[in-house]
């Protein structure tokens, strides 16, 4: 909820907001519901949802920072994955939960699978001797500052990726590729990340750059995929074009 009253200048001016609602306890199917929100210039979708909380419409959604640093408020806004705190409200907007994960209620989805996969891919620096001294080349500092440190793991790019439909796809998806690149660039990391990326399906990427298009922080996971591919080829991995094993037959 907002702690200051909205600075409403013209009470007549209103926006309509459509929300796909679903409460598994009471509803058989999701349904659309429309709400009226007063117009305030540069107001964000989060503020509109909080305004509705104030009115007693407790639509379930996640938020924390409101300044796109926590990545918890991703949802489909007019069909496009975006951060609700980074999207300015417009008339007739349609809000839906992300489609890649199971819906827990309204706009809240079950992201446990992401946590599990991050663990699977060992997204921390893997090293036998972590305590050793190391130097960091300036280009790595820059890469972290410009790219890797900035990913907030909001999952917008996963939603947009046509080559990775869900968490079981043979390509993990853009966000994971970027996080692997981050790990690979860490001075302590000793794992063969190129091999790993290769096995985790980067060859399925179709280089459509949808991920870069939706990234709220203007990062480009597809570029990281391309870098991995180039390295895999120039370093002639034994079998660069492997995919992850098909688990269905195990």
């Amino acid at each position: 909820m907002t702690c200051y009253l909205l600075p409403i200048e013209n009470p007549e001016a209103r926006y309509t907001l459509h929300v796909l609602r679903f409460n598994p306890e009471t509803d058989e199917k999701p349904y659309w519901r429309s709400y009226q929100v007063p117009f305030v210039s540069t107001m964000t979708v989060i503020e509109a949802l909080e305004y509705l909380w104030d009115q007693g419409e407790y639509i379930a959604f996640r938020t924390n920072c409101r300044e796109f640093t926590c990545g918890s408020c991703a949802m489909l806004i007019n069909g496009k994955p975006q951060l609700a705190c980074d999207t300015i409200l417009q008339d007739d907007m349609r809000l839906e939960p992300l489609s890649r994960y199971g819906v827990l209620r309204d706009l809240v989805v079950d992201t446990e699978a992401i946590k599990k996969k991050l663990k699977d891919v060992k997204y921390w620096p893997v090293s036998a001797n972590r305590e050793k001294n190391f130097t960091v080349p300036p280009q790595v500092i820059d890469a972290y500052g410009q790219i890797y440190s900035r990913c907030i793991e909001c999952a917008c790019c996963l939603e947009a990726c046509p080559a990775s439909f869900n968490e079981a796809s043979r390509f993990d998806g853009p966000m994971y590729a970027l996080l692997l690149a981050r790990a690979a660039n860490h001075p302590l990391d000793a794992m063969n990340r190129i091999q790993q990326a290769s096995e985790r399906g980067i060859w399925a990427c179709v280089s459509c750059f949808e991920c870069a298009d939706v990234c709220p922080l203007d990062l480009s996971p597809a570029k990281e995929v391309a870098k991995f591919r180039r390295k895999a080829i120039t370093q002639s991995l034994k079998r660069p074009f492997t995919f992850r094993k098909d688990k269905r037959y195990e």
């Binding site: 503020e47 407790y58 640093t69 926590c70 500092i141």
Partner: protein, 578 residues
Amino acid sequence: MTLQVDQVYTTDVLVVGGGAAASMAAISATNEGADVLVLDKGQLGKSGCSPNAHGGMALYPKHENDSWKIHFEDTLMSGGFLNNQQVVRVLCQKGFRFVSLLEQFGSLFDRDADGTYSVRQFGGHRYKRSVFSGDETGHEMMNGLRREIARLGVKTRDEVMVLRLLTTDGEICGALALDIAKGAFIEVRAKAVVLATADGSGIWPAAAERQRGDGYCMALEAGAELADMEFIQYHPTHAWWPYGVRGSVSESFRAEGGYLLNSEGERFMLHYDPEQKELATRDKVSVCIYREILAGRGARHGGIYASVTHLPPDHIEKRLRVIFRKYMSYGFDIRKQPIEIRPRPHYLCGGVVANDRAETRVPGLYAAGAVTAGVHGANRLGSNALVDILVFGDIAGRNAAHRAGNVDHKRMNAKTQVEKEIKRVADLVAKSAIEPVWTPILRRRHFEMMDRYVGVLRTDEGLRHMLAEIERTQKEDLPNLSIRDKSRRYNFELRDALEMQLRLMVEEMSTRAAVTRTESRGSHFRDDYPKRDDRQWLKNIVFFKKDDQLVCECRAVEMSVMDISELPAYAALDSPWH
């Protein structure tokens, strides 16, 4: 909806929270061999204000003349000598180790050309000593901590709100929590609990609205003491206009050379503080801005102007990346136009009393991070908090693990406590009051009143007005507090209503402490007592519960490391700030 305990955990150490302090505690306790469970009201690493901290962490005395002692003095001067000196000493001495530790976990921080960490300066620090990662220091810190938690395989549960700490014979034996995702209770048996639920600045209309002070109330009920609750730090530069932009404009804005201007285009800080100028301590800047606004020299939308238009554009793009981008996304170019800012509550310096071993008065209860008092005294020095949460998160985790290694599980003798708590929640859900009171409306009213009466400029009259309102709310509104949403899953209305009940307790302590302290010091500024009074008020105001009654006590500060007379320049002044 029927409410019952549907899951019981048994663990050595229970960590309550999900920010950096909680993560660090969980990591250290795991490394000491303890079995750890982390319960977080939000999602671990995405909740709390650790990932939002932009500025830096003050732990690297890079300048040759800098030392822990100077950092210690700076912290005490900012804290008005009310700090727990033992705790501050540990903070200033033990901080540096954690940069390399975080880098082992997977973070990386900015470096200069010679390979040493880059440092920046924050208001009130005499030297540049804050290590950072661009404008996203806290986020990068959490990047490392989350990876280490995953690597160690620490058991974590997201979206579980801890409601009450359970005690047997005055010792901690576990906790009761509400699983927000499922709408069921979780009972935890633990040998030690680390409380890392952050401060209660969200009682005010704060930037970090989600900091609701749950931990304070849990600790108080369990028998711990709270101190320094009157010191709410206002962040002087909070985004105010354009409207959609939220959050604080980090101190790096001023650190990199930004100006504050009134409606006449004047750098007003030059005559309030010709020496420190815009980089004076936060509370001083806040009061100065409020004075300008009250004198009618505020900006168009009620804030004050902040400008970096005089700096080179590429410098702004590089060094103020987050702020620049944030405003750009609203079509606002900070390279060309000044923004409007306004002071907003940022950090409640007070909290649970813990010693330099992170122990509270209750055996088995440890506290770390923003939920504690003592480190920051009357006013927090920018970028000290991120050091505090790492150093004391680590200490709390270790000591909790040691305790768990040495004691057995207490006989769980807390049935009545559990039942009482479940009943409290069930009553709230079931209630159908004739004149129901809804949380959002009540909370907004209290936000506004806390800001007005217990905010930057305080008077006896205003504070008493607030006390009356709190009493009225407890008597008239709380019994009618109702919720409309009766479902179990993700019932955020229920969560908010439960927090509402807690917040009144925090409001009461803050306001009572502010009435009691008849002087100005640090972030507590009384318009009717504008001077610092060291003869009467080198004291902490402490709260605890005795026979179910809230007791307020004034205790003289122990100057165990440095006496105030050792800083004669400070002692001679009677300004609240220095």
